[in-house]
């Protein structure tokens, strides 16, 4: 039975799924119900040190850099419309490969060309993030972002972080204005 989290809540993945070594992060949202330019949402991940910054630009995993420099995080590809049930984009994290200096992995979703298309998370519904055991695909934790977003164009959906020897997942749900570039800069990426 997967743990359903509220904003700010956390769960120990290691306790929920003993022996866990690799996870799949699934992210989803409703496709645009109205007519107009599609909502093209993009998932990205940042492998961060304890100070909340990347070690190098290769720690920013997104549609143009699908594998982290250490190989621990893999982006499984871009979905342009949010069409279809279930996960719209997925990332795999091999926890056993995450280097010791990486303290957490932040998972964010941004809206492509949000400004040009006049789009924001205030228009996107049904967003969720879920964590699955990569081995077998069983869902461990889930967070439905029922928050009422407004003009934000980037949202940190959740983060995977170390707690001693354990790995935990936190439902973050924090929005930012400006989209992917300011978000990446916030994590110390040179864009």
């Amino acid at each position: 039975m997967a743990v359903s989290l509220k904003k700010g809540g956390n769960v120990s993945l290691s306790k929920e799924a003993p022996g866990l070594s690799a996870i799949t992060i699934g992210l989803g949202w409703d496709p645009r119900a109205t007519d107009g330019k599609e909502f093209d949402l993009d998932a990205s991940a940042f492998t961060l040190k304890a100070d909340g910054k990347v070690r190098a630009d290769g720690d920013f995993i997104f549609y143009n850099n699908k594998v982290s420099s250490d190989g621990s995080v893999v982006h499984n590809g871009d979905n342009r419309t949010g069409e279809g049930a279930g996960d719209d984009e997925t990332l795999d994290i091999d926890l056993s490969k995450v280097p010791a200096e990486v303290d957490k992995v932040a998972i964010a979703v941004t809206i492509d060309e949000a400004d040009a298309r006049g789009q924001s998370f205030g228009q996107v519904g049904g967003a969720f993030i879920r964590v699955m055991n990569k081995d077998g695909g069983a869902e461990i934790a889930r967070y439905d972002l029922s928050e009422d977003y407004s003009t934000e164009t980037a949202v940190i959906f959740g983060e995977i972080y170390r707690n001693g020897a354990d790995w935990k997942f936190r439902a973050v749900g924090q929005g930012f204005a400006g989209g992917l570039a300011p978000l990446a800069r916030n994590f110390g990426v040179n864009v």
Binding site: D35, G118, S120, G122, Q123, S150, T151
Partner: protein, 401 residues
Amino acid sequence: MQTFTTGQKTQLSTLTPQTNLTLTVQVTGPASEYDLILFGLDAAGQLSDDRYMIFFNQPRSPEGAVEMKSGARNEKVFTVDLSRLPASVRRLSLASTVDSGAFNAIDHAEVTLSSSGTPLMNYRVTGRDFQQQKAVMLLDLYFKDVWRVGAVGQGFNGGLDALVRHFGGTVADTPAARPPSPPPPTPTPAAPRPAPTPAAISTPPAPTINLGKITLDKQGQSAKISLRKDGQKDPISVNLNWDKGGGFLRASADLDLGCMFVMQDGQKGVIQALGNSFGSDRFEPFILLDKDDRSGASSDGENLVISRPDLIHTVVIFAFIYQGTSDFTKVNARLTMKDPRGNEITVQLSNPDMRRTFCAIASIENVGGEVKITKEERYFKDHQEADQHFGFSFRWSAGSK
């Protein structure tokens, strides 16, 4: 006052502690009309009760918590009292639709939310914000833990039909009666309750909203509207509108709307501004003329409401030129008749004959439980000549105002 951008949302309490709110809306563009509708939706965003679709044909919710009025400068004004809304209505979605063209052609659409006359926020979009949408949701007032307001600015190329479907309603192609209201809940038996079987759960029928617009093009063409069997009023509203015209040297055109009527009980008479015979909505004949618009400046023209079509025998709707123009076509005179189920009948007055300034536009007859509306569009030189044609046998004398 805050200016919202598309997608922006906030808790209403950050703007006002009041629950009495006013939405003032204006859409300008090349189309002759941009309809405005306020949908009262349930918590799932569905129009589960079509009495909460507030628009020109249904300007008031049953308890009056939502009401639509005409404002100045072509504005529409929706008054909302959130505290009086039933708990089943959790989202008010303001939308605009257009029949000809799309929203990329609009000049602008602007909504201002205010309370007690103080503007709280506004949201403005232009044609550049849209493509081929023919229905656009502008602003939502919705309850999620608390009341909130959100600027939406999204829509559908499929127009009103697509919008209503989005809200879970169905659109009838042909005039249809209002669906029966769901049966009252059966009292819970004190005896042990039988376990509910999933197959026995019935869903209430989807609301059917009739949006049919009927244009009676030809003389003698008619449309029928069934009278309600439950004894409730089902008023027919008649609107005459025309372009102001006039100018520096010329008086603006003054057209008058009126009707001749015969009731089932034999009472007969004439309702018109001339002679101040405005009728009544409370006594026989239950036909009321709202005003005498001397110039066409009033955006909604002159309106006649037939509150009890079940009591009439025959009503002949007429318009005549009191002064200011020589013929109906010069001032683009048009008559619209609507019933609360969305049937709409339009007649464009197209006679350029300047000697005949009286037009019997349509006749309304009560025929065996149905109201039959027939396009007449017969032009006469005066009331008397028209009367002779229809055989009301009134005594006429010249009047002025």
